[in-house]
Symmetry: D2
Subunit: 353 residues, 4 copies
């Protein structure tokens, strides 16, 4: 076992305590401090974590050569400044979603990390849940065959956010998961977004996102703050099998259905198409057992491993950038009445890796 890596959590608000607790508990990490402009808030958290050091100035963290990494849980608009400072000081960085408040700034961050050979990791927490890790494995090993469609629903009675619409509030979860499980990640050419603001809240409270995928496949996301029933469900349909993830059914979160429509490609144009070329396979259903672990603990472990092995993290800065790129295009589409909006891609970024 290597010596523990030393990390400071920057931002002691809503999410910071979760990060602190997991870095504190893991075998890879030593929690080397809490940094927050609000000293009381920082100290309160630091005390609960076993009286670790308190910082109120980021610079004091960055000049400390014994600190290997920072975990950034500050407001989104500050991500760019904090992360860039961290990288420039030679620290590895974990940052909350969204990576930054604009795609351009995110590119700068990704480039900076690439140039310096540092790990920049996006905290796509959901990706490290047992269910999503298993989905990634099932997709990767080819059990589903080629992917035909992905349909994701995330609806609930939700607080109307003062600064972002429902797409920016909830869809990052769906997009980061889709990015995580798709081999090669989520790289659509364009997206379409529809939304509604029927309460006059000033932003969409109901949102639908349509994302054409390769080979004629499609992904679709439904997010909604106004639904009295809570649904968190993703279906991934493949040519061989179809997977259903029902995150609110603890007794059977994942189900893999061996039921598919087969289409005989050779005879698609023939006359008696209905009877000759389409068939159903009604097979068994299978629900894999899932290990029980906390997603953040798994993520902390991956952050450490990516640093030690000098490789990209599984949810690296590029993953965060891909999600951000789709969200920005979605906002443009929404403003344009749902017309398809091009997703910007930046070849230089890929080249830089």
């Amino acid at each position: 076992m290597n010596a523990k890596l030393r990390i400071v959590v920057v931002g002691a608000g809503y999410w910071g305590p979760n990060l602190a607790r997991n870095f504190s508990a893991g075998r890879d990490w030593e929690l080397a401090g809490i940094c927050d402009l609000d000293e009381d808030r920082a100290r309160s958290l630091a005390d609960r974590m076993g009286h670790v050091p308190v910082f109120t100035r980021l610079d004091d963290v960055l000049v400390d050569e014994n600190i290997d990494a920072i975990a950034v849980a500050t407001p989104a608009r500050t991500h760019h400044a904090v992360v860039m400072a961290g990288l420039r000081a030679g620290k590895h960085v974990l940052v909350e979603k969204p990576l930054a408040d604009s795609r351009e700034r995110a590119i700068e961050m990704v480039d900076e990390a690439a140039i310096r050979g540092l790990t920049l990791m996006a905290d796509h927490t959901y990706c490290y849940t047992p269910a999503v890790l298993k989905i990634r494995e099932i997709v990767a090993n080819g059990s589903l065959g080629e992917i035909l469609f992905i349909d994701s629903v995330r609806i609930n009675l939700g607080l109307i956010q003062p600064d972002v619409d429902v797409l920016w509030d909830l869809a990052p979860h769906d997009l980061s998961i889709i990015d995580f499980v798709l081999p090669g990640g989520l790289r659509p050419a364009a997206v379409s977004a529809h939304g509604a603001d029927p309460l006059g809240a000033g932003r969409a409270c109901v949102g639908y996102l349509t994302i054409p995928l390769q080979n004629g496949a499609i992904a679709h996301v439904h997010v909604n703050w106004l639904s009295p029933t809570k649904i968190r469900r993703m279906v991934i349909g493949g040519t061989k099998q179809t997977l259903v993830w029902d995150d609110l059914n603890p007794q059977q979160r994942l189900s893999v259905y061996d039921r598919v429509v087969d289409l005989d490609q050779q005879s698609v144009d023939e006359v008696d198409r209905r009877s000759s070329t389409i068939s159903y396979r009604l097979g068994d259903t299978w629900s894999p057992a899932l290990p029980e672990h906390e997603a953040l603990a798994e993520m902390a472990e991956e952050f450490a491993a990516s640093i030690r092995e000098q490789r990209s993290a599984r949810t690296d800065g590029l993953a965060g950038l891909r999600v951000l790129s789709v969200l920005e295009a979605a906002s443009r589409s929404l403003a344009d009445g749902g017309n398809m909006a091009k997703v910007e891609c930046d070849l230089l970024v890929d080249a830089a890796r």
Copy 2:
């Protein structure tokens, strides 16, 4: 009780027997015959219905002055010809969905019926189920308040149709229901449709339909032939209450949630918006008991009533035309990459009523 009305069922294929059985059983109707080009098929059905007369030529039905109405269950491409002939012969007409194979032809049919003062009724069977009748009642009496969103999902492993895509196959159900429960019917200015044909079947097997409604509300329909799990669920969110219809849960098909997000309109622009203007009301849930009756029996009754009372049927030709208009626009949108397509409306039709 008036004398029974006399009806002939035209078309003895898939749906005809259901119509025949219900017209045969009701107190309003006398089943006066079965008409089909295939005499054996007609006779087989006629025998099961108590040896009613068999017709192989439509004209023989139409010249019979003792016949008040025809129920048309022939292929969609023949609807226009059969219905127009029926109306011109002075018969009231019930016709399977879709009303016709094009909006233009449907308008002709609606106009013909209007001019002649005959009932032209669309067989939107779902509208006459106990659940949908109750939904219409709940919406009409204002229990939900103003409608904010409608989200409808109708997915299942389904036969890939040789001639129509999944939107034309399944969405007519959702659209006719939405048209039925919305006061004033479904009259969107435009729609957007996205689809995917990932199997290369030659037509969309997965479809999403987005329909902006009045006052910033939105309706959305998801239809899918490739899903191994079956879902038939519609959510109608209102300012006061929200209704969920889960058609596959016989023990609780309808649930009305008294849970809403309230937004204080006065203070939307103020600073402390998050805390001051949004609140939740978590009230009770209520599931109305539903009577048990067969939808087709109820529809047959409405057909008779509309004739006797010389009024429009609840799913009249205009309802069928509205559904058809949305479907045609959806097809145009689909062909145009999901861009919004204008829904044609024909003011003359309304004027003619």
Copy 3:
């Protein structure tokens, strides 16, 4: 293919039409007539079955040498007389549950069939559903290991029967299924029954049946006419796996859980038992695909096969007798305040086979 066997359905009331339809449709059988004291009722059914012969006297059926078998769907109190007459006339007999209105009479019937080498089969319809056939297969192939417990719940708002209590009305389903899936059948030494008649209906409307099985295992049945929710669920726990049958969940009727408590037998008496000897295995869940077929069609096929192969039917008279024996003991226990009542077994019956 052998020539078809010829059968007459005796009793054209509630269940007779179902039998007639299935014997009429199968490839093994020719429906040779309908027999009922009420000629109109017999004729109405016979006409629907393609104008088969009508009998109003049982004797006319029994003297007809071209008739191979009778299916008895008359009231329970007449089963003994009709079946004995049938057997004495050399006919194979299928009879509705319960086999007879007393265990003694049932023994006579079983003996008569055994002596004459005729098939006497109990119409335990549920046993021929795809789900129960699959359960029998899973138990038989050892997938579950040794059976630890069986828990069956069958509750619903039900008509209070005028002549039988809830145990006699509903538990025959559970008992015949348990008898069918247990290797060796259901042969308990004693049973305990508790019931309640809180409405003062004159008979138990809520019933619980406890049945000690071999090797310390237990079966338990809950039947209830007063429950507003409908549950039909049987759990069969084994040392290797556990099976859950939820008959009201068409999308996943059977689930096999690879989750068990393991107990290390060697160290049961040791001190640190809690930590050392008990462990959990949390494995996958598996839901076998079930073929779709009508249970009665499958039963008709088994009836024919047992006759042709001169073997016992899978639900033979002895199976019916075993169920009846448990029910009679249950009634004695119920009358005795729930104290265990011995289940009568008749060795001669087994010997006769």
Copy 4:
């Protein structure tokens, strides 16, 4: 607001921290210390609670006149000694279930508290959940009418306890809840218990408890350590309505069904009973909204209120004694093959109040 009451939590093992946290957080209580023989364990908990005092000897707690009450979370076999010492020192006492390890000792404790005018309260935590409080309210206000049956199922894959069987492990939850919601509490004359130990664990792992109630009603409890599926469900059937509590369905924990079987009492003995005297009412279903609060906080509040108002707590020592009396009778029944065992009742106890 009165001054806060001062309490010491005795026992810092599994449950003590939950008690400490809730007494620490409430407005009624001041957590005055943690007492445990194991000083490290006590100190660890005391530190987390804000560095409250640590005691390793109970006597030091009892002599402190500033301490009003103790909360006892030590092993069941020590309850009697600790509680009696507490009461004799004039402290109010909250004690974990079971009240004591025998009914006789529990009576001593109840008597001691009664004589001294002190509150002795059983920690029947479940009774203070929002769902159970609402059930109690619904039963008390007569919405259900007279109670006909109670059916409770509590099954899951559970650790086989080294010292108690499944009835003593799980049924106290069901019994304390039934005692809590039944007006007058649970006072059966006798009970029957069946169990099975199919793994040879030395104690029942599957248990069924039948409890005749007044007026012909019945309660039944199914507890099971061997079920791979988790069910926690109680049905309370009444003459007017029926309540279903599904504790694992957070979206609809309580449902009240307005569906009942009506029996016309006048004509029970008439011939045509089936048609004339039984009818169904299929009414609406209603799911009350439940407030969100932690059960232990509510219980701490009730403990304080009962002390201040010098009244019995809602789950007082007598409630604990009634549960214990049923469990002891259940054990006798289990040992006697399920025969009904008399539930001991001690009139002196009631008289003492």
